[in-house]
Symmetry: C2
Subunit: 235 residues, 2 copies
């Protein structure tokens, strides 16, 4: 489906900021100007700018305009985006599949309460490490209820992206998520993957993604090494 007008304008402005056509401190064209030049209503322009502001790309100031903000140095892992989007243009993102998808029973004492239907279906699990500039910064265990996911384990992920695979092959769209965050120390397995010493502190995130399919959720257990790159909500 054709993206909405506000999404197209959002994507356009975001890429222009990332590419450097607009620099820190610059003013974006005014809402009326964008409305005229793109031939869309001002309310629609405002929606695009609202998203940019929520993600920290611009700051809106009444009476002045929309000011382009500095690009952040931290990884916007807490925001609801795919990994490569989250990392931003200034770093090189890479993902490695540590354990390919397999069908299995749910782990004991799973971190979210499962419905009887989910319990019975069992799960598909896989494990990936994410790198930023060659440093492993994120270890992610993904769990999908094993319902109507034919061939998931036999075909590789599309472009290495779980979201894209779910969308294109199974028409499942990720719409939102909830997460719980805590600090823990690395055990030996995790320390090995991150190439750090055991007992190094890590951020652990439990995450439940909501989809367009009623009662179908996707789960992730994430470990973040924040020694070199901190994490944040933006970008």
């Amino acid at each position: 489906m054709e993206p909405a007008h506000y999404q197209k304008l959002y994507a356009l402005l975001k890429s222009q900021i990332q590419v450097g056509n607009f620099k820190e401190g610059d003013l974006l064209p005014s809402e009326n100007e964008l409305s005229t030049t793109h031939k869309i209503a001002r309310m629609t322009v405002r929606r695009a700018l609202m998203e940019l502001a929520n993600e920290g790309y611009i700051k809106k100031v009444k009476g002045k305009g929309s000011i382009v903000c500095a690009t952040r140095k931290s990884l916007g892992i807490l925001s609801f985006k795919g990994f490569s989007e989250v990392v931003g243009a200034e770093y090189a993102a890479k993902t490695m599949m540590l354990r390919a998808p397999i069908e299995m029973a749910w782990p004991e004492r799973f971190f979210y309460k499962l419905s009887p239907e989910e319990e019975e279906a069992g799960c598909i699990m896989f494990e990936r490490v994410r790198f930023v500039d060659e440093d492993p910064v994120m270890l992610e265990y993904s769990y999908l209820p094993n319902q109507n996911l034919d061939d998931f384990c036999t075909k590789p992920l599309l472009d290495g992206s779980l979201f894209k695979t779910l969308n294109i092959r199974y028409h499942i769209d990720i719409e939102s998520f909830e997460q719980d965050i805590r600090a823990i120390v690395a055990d030996e397995i995790i320390a090995f993957h991150f190439k750090i010493k055991p007992l190094t502190p890590l951020v652990q995130i439990y995450r439940r993604y909501h989809t367009n399919v009623p009662d179908y959720f996707v789960y992730s257990l994430i470990y973040c090494n924040t020694e070199k790159y901190t994490i944040s909500n933006h970008q």
Copy 2:
């Protein structure tokens, strides 16, 4: 100033959810219905519902309606709210001033880069511990550039709230913030305040609040004990 229509509707619906007039799984009245009964345009209703959805109170489903979500068990510390709002109605929140506000020079190697004007002004610093149900969960060091804050150190905070004090006494409104999050281990001082063992992992947050006063920022250094209460974006 009178709150906007969408803010009033947002606050009304939120309190009705918190109080239990709407329960998990319930549908809110439809947008058209809210528009009619409150005599405001549907776009204005939508803005109120948008905020509720962003904070996780409801989930909007096309063709069905706005579904009330379960209340979370974690503390929405990562969201941009005052502490008591963040904790939610189901816990008892308490704050203790550990060190009353004093004027001082900025710490060496401050966690954000300061402007020359901020450097020169020096800062006002104070230290608070936040309790949830009698457990210390958050240690917060607050730093304000010492500019035009007459009597800040000699009068107590209004209702114990920094935001309220800045707003009413100095007409400074907090409008947004940025934060960086990492995992660390407790040193002896922090462990003492949290009544935990040194080397317990903690979440550390650097935060910079943006205000309605140009180039005036408020800074916080926060430690969270996540052993008992995890943290999240919502509520």
